[in-house]
């Protein structure tokens, strides 16, 4: 599984300043958030998807494996669509008696946006080490007074360390349970219990060990600080993303 793992490669995206990548994600998210009408702005979404897939190819991330791993996200989508369709159902534009076109449009847009956000986050994590992410967040937040930049950066980087561990643990638990004929258990709640409880306890144990290791290596909030200075190419990248964001907002208005 390569989801949420750092994938080393000699690519332009890997070499880009982590601060630029982080700021680009923020700008990208801001622009994407404004688009709420998939039926009208489908070309916009399509363009975005093409851009992200191109970045994936430039970053030399194995596309086939990544998209295969991302199937977990697709499981959530029908649930989101269904819930939102009910929620926004109106009498005027109902598709069936209880599902509205407006609701369907909104929920599909939401799912698509979620997929795009996930994809761009995965690209960011796959091309940036946790250490770089940590220093980039710290670097950006340091400019804001009264914000505990180091604490926030550490919390985020610890989460990023934990996510692949949870996926890896889940895979090993599933294999272990399958080897003991879990497939014969038909009750979905029982199956859920057989995987979830060991997953939680294993994850907590790992988190505990990581915390001990941090202490053993003298972790403190006063660490060596790195400054990532933005260069011309970084400003160009930020400019492109800002332009995109501006266009998206304009389109949505």
């Amino acid at each position: 599984m390569i989801l949420f793992h750092y994938i080393p490669a000699d690519s332009l995206i890997h070499k880009t300043n982590p601060k630029t990548k982080l700021l680009s994600i923020i700008i990208f998210s801001f622009g994407t958030l404004r688009i709420n009408n998939l039926f009208q702005n489908y070309y916009n979404f399509l363009m975005l998807l093409i851009v992200l897939l191109s970045i994936l190819i430039i970053a030399k991330i194995p596309l086939r494996y990544l998209l295969k791993d991302m199937r977990y996200f697709l499981i959530m989508f029908p649930i989101i669509v269904l819930i939102n369709s009910f929620k926004l159902s109106t009498d005027e534009s109902s598709l069936l008696s209880f599902i509205s076109i407006e609701g369907l449009n909104y929920s599909l847009s939401f799912c698509f946006k979620l997929y795009l956000f996930s994809l761009i986050s995965i690209i960011f994590i796959a091309t940036t080490t946790v250490r770089q992410i940590n220093f980039a967040i710290e670097n950006i937040l340091r400019k804001f007074p009264l914000v505990p930049s180091v604490k926030i950066a550490t919390m985020i980087s610890l989460c990023i360390i934990q996510i692949p561990l949870i996926f890896d643990n889940y895979n090993s638990i599933i294999l272990a349970q399958k080897s003991r004929c879990m497939d014969n258990v038909k009750n979905p709640f029982k199956r859920f219990q057989l995987t979830l409880i060991p997953l939680i306890s294993k994850t907590l144990k790992k988190a505990d060990n990581i915390s001990l290791n941090y202490q053993a290596k003298c972790y403190s909030h006063t660490r060596t600080q790195y400054s990532y200075k933005l260069e011309l190419k970084d400003y160009i990248i930020l400019g492109i993303f800002s332009l995109y964001s501006f266009m998206s907002v304009k389109l949505a208005l």
Binding site: V130, N209, N213, A216, K217, S220, R223, T224
Partner: protein, 246 residues
């Protein structure tokens, strides 16, 4: 020198893991700590690093109470955990070794220099940008050792360093330990595999049910057969032959 005076440790659930331990760890010594499962070996190592605090008694580092100087003590006493996977936090080999140095506020140039030196020391010099998850068990162990060595400790504790390693892996780690000992570092190896390492050690310490039951000076003894009462796997050879560096 590290001195443990009547040290006991009890977990929050009331389970006692160590009882009245009195022990001296001299500088430059190579010590092997053994004992059956649950005898308190790992707890003792965590106490020495200041990760756990004694419920009773005290630990002195060069005559100073360890508890009062915990951040500093961790730079003097390094610990390599049993599971290298949880010890390695960096996503590249370089990042992992740099982690400890960044915590100690070294500057960028100094970090680069120390990381390169320590990678060379453990024979991973070309692994700078490699991802730790793609390393073999022995390489991961050596990376964990390098991460600790970078912090320049005087004492290095290794918890079950040979676990899950194949013969070349064990040899590499053993060679590493001997090299570090020759450099003047104090080594404390926690292991059940006495036949792999005992020939290189100065002392053997045996724990049983949280109590220190035996300290053997290996320079004076030629056999450890009398330790069979303590549920320890006793190799059939002489102490001088207990090495896998043949």
């Amino acid at each position: 020198m590290i001195e443990l005076l009547n040290v006991s440790h009890t977990f929050q659930n009331g389970c006692t893991s160590l009882k009245d331990i009195n022990l001296k760890l001299n500088k430059g010594e190579f010590i092997v700590l053994t004992g059956e499962n649950g005898s308190g070996k790992t707890v003792l190592s965590l106490l020495l690093n200041g990760l756990y605090t004694p419920s009773k008694g005290k630990i002195l580092y060069n005559g100073v109470n360890l508890e009062k100087h915990i951040p500093n003590i961790r730079t003097k006493v390094g610990i390599v955990f049993q599971d290298s996977d949880t010890q390695i936090v960096g996503q590249t080999v370089y990042d992992d070794i740099a982690f400890g140095l960044e915590n100690l506020r070294h500057n960028r140039n100094s970090i680069d220099k120390i990381v390169t030196e320590n990678l060379k020391l453990v024979g991973l010099e070309s692994y700078n940008e490699r991802v730790p998850t793609q390393l073999s068990g022995g390489e991961k162990k050596r990376l964990a050792i390098a991460g600790i060595l970078a912090m320049q400790p005087e004492y290095i504790i290794l918890d079950e360093p040979f676990n899950g390693l194949d013969l070349p892996g064990i040899k590499q780690i053993l060679e590493q330990l001997i090299k570090l000992h020759d450099m003047g570092k104090s080594i404390l190896v926690i292991t059940h595999d006495l036949e792999k390492v005992l020939a290189h050690a100065n002392r053997l310490i045996v724990l049983k049910q949280g109590q220190l039951v035996k300290i053997i000076d290996l320079q004076k003894e030629t056999s450890i057969k009398h330790l069979s009462d303590f549920n320890i796997k006793i190799p059939k050879c002489k102490i001088s032959e207990m090495t896998w560096l043949k």
